[in-house]
């Protein structure tokens, strides 16, 4: 792919990824090498399909843990100022154009309170 992929996260040169962190053996005292990981980039059609989503929040279920806000890789969500019935600040979408449809918010939510639907299904 030659097009500039501006939406991919910046990887800082030199910083160890999770796989490369050092681990010393408990029994031999030698270093246990990091695994070789392979990832393939998404194709353009795949990316467009993933982006064709809306975020739905079931406000009454939200307990305000903010995992979705914190772990969204595109910083799409923020805390709403108002409170729900539980006294929690629910998430709201800051800018839906940023969302790439990765689904982390849906998976990391422990309370089944946020999920993605195909654009157009909402309302």
């Amino acid at each position: 792919m030659t097009a500039t992929a501006t939406h991919l996260p910046e990887i800082q040169a030199g910083a160890p990824t999770a796989g490369e962190r050092n681990l010393m053996s408990e029994t031999t005292g030698q270093m246990i090498p990091a695994p070789k990981l392979a990832k393939r980039p998404l194709t353009a059609p795949q990316m467009l399909k993933l982006r064709n989503v809306d975020v739905v929040v079931m406000e009454d279920r939200c307990k305000g843990c903010s995992f979705c806000i914190e772990f969204c890789p595109k910083d799409v969500l923020e805390q709403d100022t108002k409170l729900n019935v539980r006294g929690a600040h629910v998430p709201r979408v800051k800018d839906s154009a940023l969302c790439v449809g990765c689904g982390i918010c849906e998976e990391i939510c422990p309370d089944f309170a946020i999920f993605l639907v195909e654009k157009g299904e909402k309302q």
Binding site: A18, G19, P35, E59, A88, I104, P110
Partner: protein, 286 residues
């Protein structure tokens, strides 16, 4: 805000969500990933029997839309062994906590693993006994603070992956609550394996363990897990340590071994064939 249904709604028990777990508890993540895994492999949901013990995670059997049983403390595996022995067509899934499975239930765990009975076990390890207010348990790290170790824990904890592998499990993996996709992939693999599988999920417990050990905020708990996790699959489980500054995660064991129901079935067949051949009703004297 909307009348749209959560994608996993049909897999949950009607009317039971929202669940009782605390804000930031990893148990909700385990529930979500378990149901997602069943959906993705299109597992026959009528064949799954979710068995849980006592504890916060023990409530999970009430939230899954499957045949479920909530047993007495520590006995979930013994119950599951009974189910599988008479109904090899069913798949019991035991989802329970570190204390339920390894303190009071320790004996049942090692024997179920030894037998290599076709049961998948998911352990929510939050380093303490959350439901009763945060007492220490067999996985509490040394020096940690709990309500019963106010001066710091003086006991060495278990390495659960090592224990499971040593007892005979054919699939052993450890992830943390932050490794959502990995948990799901492990469940997908384990549920289709014939034999004893063990998946440990290290979860934050902000209200009890977290509060007493400098990670009281849900976000802090998750960030801590991300920071201290090191992925090393297929190393010797004895190397896969769990310490406050280093949690080794990965898939450690994935092998095959004759499963209990197969052995039982073969043995029963042999006995009955012998009787048929000899034309007898029984070979046992009364």
């Amino acid at each position: 805000m909307s009348e749209l249904q959560h994608p996993l709604e049909d897999y949950t028990r009607r009317g039971m969500i929202p669940h009782i777990w605390c804000n930031g508890c990893g148990d909700g993540i385990i529930l979500g990933e378990f149901l997602r895994a069943l959906d993705e492999v299109k597992y026959d949901i009528n064949k799954v029997v979710v068995v849980s013990g006592i504890g916060c995670i023990g409530r999970i059997s009430g939230y899954t839309g499957t045949d479920s049983f909530h047993t007495t403390h520590g006995r979930a595996l013994a119950f599951a062994v009974g189910v599988k022995a008479v109904r090899p067509d069913l798949k019991p899934v035991v989802i329970s906590g570190d204390g339920d499975l390894f303190a009071i239930g320790g004996n049942h765990f090692i024997h179920a693993a030894r037998r290599n009975i076709d049961v998948m076990v998911i352990c929510s390890n939050n380093f303490n006994y959350g439901m009763t207010g945060g007492q220490s348990g067999p996985t509490t790290p040394i020096d940690a603070y709990t309500t019963t170790t106010r001066y710091g824990n003086i006991e060495h904890p278990f390495n659960l992956a090592h224990l499971a592998a040593a007892s005979g499990a054919i699939y052993v993996a450890r992830w943390t609550a932050i490794h959502v996709k990995r948990i799901r992939e492990s469940i997908k693999k384990a549920i289709n394996k014939k034999g004893f599988s063990f998946i440990e999920v290290i979860t934050p417990c902000p209200e009890e363990y977290g509060r007493r050990n400098k990670i009281p905020d849900p976000i802090q708990g998750m960030k801590w897990l991300r920071e201290v996790s090191v992925v090393r699959s297929f190393i010797d489980p004895i190397e896969a340590v769990v310490q406050p500054d280093k949690i080794v995660v990965g898939e450690f064991v994935n092998k095959e071994k004759t499963e209990f129901s197969e052995l039982l079935s073969a043995s029963t067949q042999a006995v009955q064939s012998k009787l048929e051949k000899e034309g007898k009703l029984t070979n046992v004297a009364i």
